[in-house]
Symmetry: C2
Subunit: 241 residues, 2 copies
């Protein structure tokens, strides 16, 4: 039955991306990598969606060479995986065990980063975090998933960056790269917004009071709740493995 009306414009991830605006001092490859990485984190691509070298090159306005390196990098980060006998690259479809694997890494590292962030927190950054939290709340009220996800990443990364640990920040970003395509399906879960915003409010409170352990606990709760929603939604997750 009319599936195309149920998902009116099931756009692929490319529709939101334009050709590359070449900035000097940066290689094409680096810009393509950053663009696609952020797009994956923001959930522009769905799990299982295939990424073609030539099509990506056409969209970015370059040859396949820099695209290939960028995609290979993303594969190395776990943001893409080789799929069939044709070695096609696609957005990973996670198994339930992989999801738990990632969840526990996040609990360990983001909890640690949050705790470390307390000492490096400045008023200006705290204000930015508060803004992101407000925008998230507004997006939740309006049901705007795009705006919500964008500010969700912004909220979390602003906290972790205060820990001033670039390597840790990179590993955390890699974990978000893996769950990014899934989180968009998680926000459709009932009560997700409510529970998530409750954790975020608790985190913001702890942040303002300089309470590291409380902040850590709030972040851990947020991660656990999100993983629960993902497990129950069963979209983009394979149960077999």
């Amino acid at each position: 039955m009319n599936e195309e009306s149920a998902t009116p414009a099931l756009q692929d991830g490319w529709s939101r991306l334009g050709p590359l605006a070449l900035r000097e001092g940066q290689t094409s490859q680096a810009q393509i990598y950053a663009t696609l990485r952020d797009a994956l984190i923001s959930g522009y691509f769905r799990p299982g969606e295939e990424i073609s070298l030539r099509r990506a090159a056409a969209v970015m306005g370059t040859s396949v060479t820099p695209v290939r390196e960028a995609l290979r990098q993303l594969e190395s980060d776990g943001g893409l995986e080789v799929f069939g006998g044709n070695r096609v690259l696609r957005v990973p479809v996670l198994s339930a065990s992989e999801l738990l694997d990632i969840r526990d890494i996040r609990i360990n590292l983001e909890g640690f980063a949050a705790n470390q962030a307390i000492s490096g927190m400045r008023p200006s950054r705290l204000r930015l975090i508060g803004n992101a939290c407000q925008l998230m709340q507004r997006a939740a009220d309006a049901g705007d998933a795009d705006m919500y996800l964008e500010n969700n990443w912004r909220f979390h990364s602003l906290i972790y960056e205060a820990a001033q640990r670039p390597v840790l920040m990179g590993v955390i970003r890699d974990m978000w790269l893996r769950v990014g395509p899934l989180i968009r399906t998680a926000v459709t879960a009932p009560l997700h917004f409510d529970r998530s915003m409750a954790s975020h409010d608790a985190a913001l409170r702890a942040l303002r009071q300089g309470d590291g352990p409380a902040l850590q606990a709030a972040i851990i709760r947020d991660i656990g709740d999100a993983a629960d929603d993902l497990m129950t939604s069963e979209q983009g997750i394979t149960r077999t493995a």
Copy 2:
């Protein structure tokens, strides 16, 4: 003064690597990546050593194309970094703060993995771990750094793999990739072998008793001691940043 006799054959990392033995079903790029990654973990390359695309291609017996992708992947993993205005790839020279950054990630993740490994431990694996520990002790007695480092990674990875968490294992491997070039300098520290083997023995004991927290504590102590030796050795570390 005759510096060349002080370091008689300061071999670069390529001297231990041969041309690629093409296995079917694997891409050249994947084999080059795996080869170079393991070489970096084992400390074949020194911090600051430069990696040339064409030279690497000549050693591996391929064109620059697959080499470039492999090196780009390693850069993304943090195993290589772009250096000068010429964008030369080299083995990273870590700052003291980066070293602490990596140390704490390792403490969190490897400690967690060790704790999780208890339930997945099998007698056959336990025997392999015991063997690696014996070989490490023998290498320490003989002062064979190569053999020691090889079995050190083997010892740790055998433990963590028992946790059956591929993503976690990948992140841990990335951390070893970053400290691999440094660890070779750490083993020259006085008492490093003694302290390290004491931690390893404690880990093995905890493993045989199925004591997760004790295993976790032993692993954490090992990581902390190694980081201390690296900080005091000051080789391949910049103090400025």
